[in-house]
Symmetry: C3
């Protein structure tokens, strides 16, 4: 069994609803998303997938949608404010916790038919959340 991992750095803003503490305030993080793919067999080149192909597909989507962007829950009152002011944001059905951001990226990778096993989101150098099947 083989696994490969590609790490993609980006930064985002967010804030949490239903939360008591500093994460209720608007703030942001330098994040690292680690995409892990798994396969029982290698292709004719000896690869699970080319590292460059993971990067070009997932990094492009992250850069377009999440990087340097506020990630906001659809229930957040800021959504109307940022819309009125024509500021960029990314709307999530759920609270933009590290857990839910990891699952969001996992779902995108799966939609691209990548054999994704897990996505790990490092919110800082000492904290991660991971979504896996």
């Amino acid at each position: 069994m083989y696994q490969i991992l590609k790490s993609i750095s980006f930064c985002y803003g967010h804030r949490l609803l239903k939360y008591q503490g500093p994460c209720a305030n608007l703030h942001g993080h330098n994040a690292r998303a680690e995409i892990t793919l798994a396969s029982e067999q290698l292709d004719e080149r000896g690869m699970v997938m080319d590292f460059g192909d993971i990067k070009s597909v997932i990094k492009t989507w992250i850069d377009d949608n999440l990087d340097h962007t506020m990630l906001l829950c659809k229930d957040d009152p800021l959504v109307a404010v940022l819309t009125d002011n024509q500021e960029k944001f990314y709307l999530m059905d759920k609270n933009p916790t590290a857990e839910n951001i990891a699952e969001l990226i996992f779902n995108y990778a799966e939609q691209q038919n990548f054999p994704v096993e897990s996505v790990t989101l490092w919110e800082s150098d000492t904290s991660f959340a991971r979504f896996l099947r």
Copy 2:
């Protein structure tokens, strides 16, 4: 399935009994304990647990018990010496290897009813021991 990890740094002294080599001497390490929790579902905030709650509980215990402290096996002749000299140490039933320190922290996290999956103890930047169920 979701996992979260919180990394907690501390430093400790130890030495190993029944061991031939430099680890038989009194010495110490800059260590990093990685606490991994797992859950099938998220709470209403979208979290396995708040990173800050892991940190406040586990880091407090590590700081009070293990940080800047000699970890000694109960059979170590130094136990009597340090006791006589009123020096701080932490008594372990087993040899204070990275494996047993990882299990010690795992057991503490489990006693706190954390959904702990594993504890990884990095003894250096190139070596870890992990205890998992």
Copy 3:
């Protein structure tokens, strides 16, 4: 259940056959091989294995065979050229991808009767391939 990991750094040259892109050119990487061993029980010292024993066996083999060496597939036309010029290389049955190099080191560790669970080869700070049973 216990796991231990030892990380061993080395650098190698390679190039890939049947590949369109920059990895078809001769190039190289600063790599890190992470050897993970697993055991249900610890020995009388409280260890899966001494970190130093993993290092001395695996690092010696890597240093002798892979470090500062071109890793080439046996079908590579360069094999004849380097042979004629008495240049050092390491011959692989398969394409020298990160996946196949991880499996190569795994197989060596297994031949040494190490209870190896996986070998992870970091090809760069952002990409790894892992082989596991």
